[in-house]
Symmetry: C2
Subunit: 326 residues, 2 copies
Amino acid sequence: MTGQGIVVSEVGSFHTGGRIVSLRNQPRRAMQVAGSGPDRIVDLNGDYLTGQCYVQFIKQLRPRSATPVMFWHGGAMTGVAWETTPDGRPGWQMFFLTRGYDVFVCDAVERGRAGWSPFPEIYEGRPIFRTMNEAWTLFRIGPQGGYAADPARRIVHRGQRFPVEAYETFCAQFVPRWIDHADLTISAYLKALKRVGPVVLVAHSQGGSLALEAALRRPDLFRAVVVVEPAAAPDLKDADLAAASRVPHLVLWGDFIEDDPLWPDYRRCVERHTRELVAHGGTVDTVRLPEHGIHGNSHVPMSDRNSDEVAAIVEQWIGRHLEPAD
Amino acid sequence: MTGQGIVVSEVGSFHTGGRIVSLRNQPRRAMQVAGSGPDRIVDLNGDYLTGQCYVQFIKQLRPRSATPVMFWHGGAMTGVAWETTPDGRPGWQMFFLTRGYDVFVCDAVERGRAGWSPFPEIYEGRPIFRTMNEAWTLFRIGPQGGYAADPARRIVHRGQRFPVEAYETFCAQFVPRWIDHADLTISAYLKALKRVGPVVLVAHSQGGSLALEAALRRPDLFRAVVVVEPAAAPDLKDADLAAASRVPHLVLWGDFIEDDPLWPDYRRCVERHTRELVAHGGTVDTVRLPEHGIHGNSHVPMSDRNSDEVAAIVEQWIGRHLEPAD
C-alpha cells in the first residue's frame, strides 16, 4: 500500500480554542524538580491556558482531494486511535494519506497533547479513567465479565476481529477525561474547523456524538460527516435541522451490539437523530457492517484486523459525496 | 525548504514500557458520560496500564541517514515542542525530515499521548503545573516578574528571539508532570530505544537530563547525544563513565543565562558532568550560542525565530559524528 510513499509537504500541528484562567492563593512549595538539580520554588499561582484542543496535520505536496479529512477520537482515547492499530499496522490516518487526502488528527480538550489544567481549581471535580476491565466490554471485545488479568482467561466474542493479543498495547493509549467538557471541546473543535476550512470529518464514539452536535451548530464547516460507532446524539432543542441536513452523514456500526447491555440504547438514540435529519431532507447512510456480510467488528473498527476493509467502505462513501469541485 | 516534499513510507506510533496495576475498593458512580446518552456506571476498580511512553515516527522511503533522530521534550511540554514553533513555522522534526532523517518524536511517561494514571491511587501525590508566569522567566523570555497578563506590559529580554506574540499558543502546549517519575520515564524510553535501534538523540531541558542519564546506563543505544539546555545532570554513583564516553555529546546553550537566578547553577551542574565525560576520553562539544555570535535565544531555541539556524548547527555536528557506515 505504501510502496511508492506519499509526498509530504509539511507535518506540523497547532492548538485552537481555550482561554486564560488565573489561580490565586495556592501554597508555594520548594521542590527538586529535575534529577540532581537544585531545589526550585513551585508556585501554582498564576495564569493558565485552558480548554484548547490539539490538531496535528500532514499535508501532501499534491493531494488528490482538495478537501482534507479530519479525525476526532472517542472517550478515553487520543488521536493515536487513527495513527496505528494496537498490533502495529498503519492506522486510518495512513490509509487516507495513501488515498490522496491531507489529514488532520485532533486530540480533544484535556486529552493527549491538548494539555490539561489543575483541578479541582480550574477543571471542576475529578477526571474519570477507563479500566482495562471496562473497555473489554464497552468496546465489545468480549461479554460483560469477560476480562481477566490473565490474557489466556479472557472471554472473547465469537469471530472477534479486534487483535486481542495486543490488548495491553491498546490500553496503553487510554487517557482520562472530564464528563462535563463536551461544550468546551466542541467550541475548540469548531475553531480548528474554521482555521482548516470545510472538511470531511471522521469521528469515533464520543467524538462521533460531538461531530453530530458540531454539524448541527456549523454545517457550513463540513463537506461530510462520518460517525463510527457514535456513543450518543445531540439535544435537538433550538437545532436548525434543515441546515444540518445539507451535510451528508454516514453512520457506521460494528458487530455484537445486540449482545451488549448498553449499545442497543446508544444506537437507538443515534438512529432517532438520523431519522430527524432524513425527515428534513438529509442524506444519511447507515452501514451496519454485519448486514453487509462483514462480521466480527468491535467498537473500534479502525483498530480491528480488517481496519483497511472498513476504511475502504468509508473512503468510497466519501468519494461519492464530495462535490465534483473536489 | 519543503518545495520538493519528502517521500514518506509510513507515519505511525507505538507505546513502550509500563506495567499493569490494579485498583480495588474505589466507589462506583452512575454518570451520564456522553451527551444525551443514558447513564452508565463508572467503576474505577480494575486494571490500568501505567508508566508507558509514546513514540510517533515518520519514516522515509529512502532516508539519507541510516540512523534516525529521536526527540525527547522537556518538562511541562510534549513532542509538540519539536513539531511546530509557537508562531506556526515548521519545527525541528520537519527540519530533520528534510535533511533526510527518519524521525521519532516521544511523549514522556504521563505527558501528552503517553496516557496517565489515577492519582493519588497509582501515581503518588499530585502533579505540578507550569504557569504562564513561571515559564516566562524559567524559559528566559524575560526577567523575573516580567510576565503580565496584558501582553503589552510583559518585559522581554533585550534582543529576544522567542516569538513573544505567540506566547499564548506556546503555553497551550503545557502539560503537568509528576516530579518523581524520572526513573519510570527513562525505563520506558530505554525500551523505545531498544525497539528502534541506536539513534541520534536530541533532547531538551528535563529531557536533556534524562538523556545524559540514559546514555550512562545504555551507551550502546546511542550514536550521538544532543542536549539542548539540559536542566540537570545525572548522579554518577555506579556510573560506567568510560562506556558513556564513547558516545559523542553536544551540549547547546541559549542566551541570557547570566541574567537568570537559576540557570547558571543548572549549567554548572551539567558542565561538571561533561568534564567527567571528557576526563574519561569522551567527545563533548559545548556550544554557547552567544559565543558563536548568535544572540537572543531563549531556553527553547527550537521555538525561537532562528530555530532553523540553530537546527543547522546541530545537524552539522551530527553529520560529523555519525560513523561513515551511516
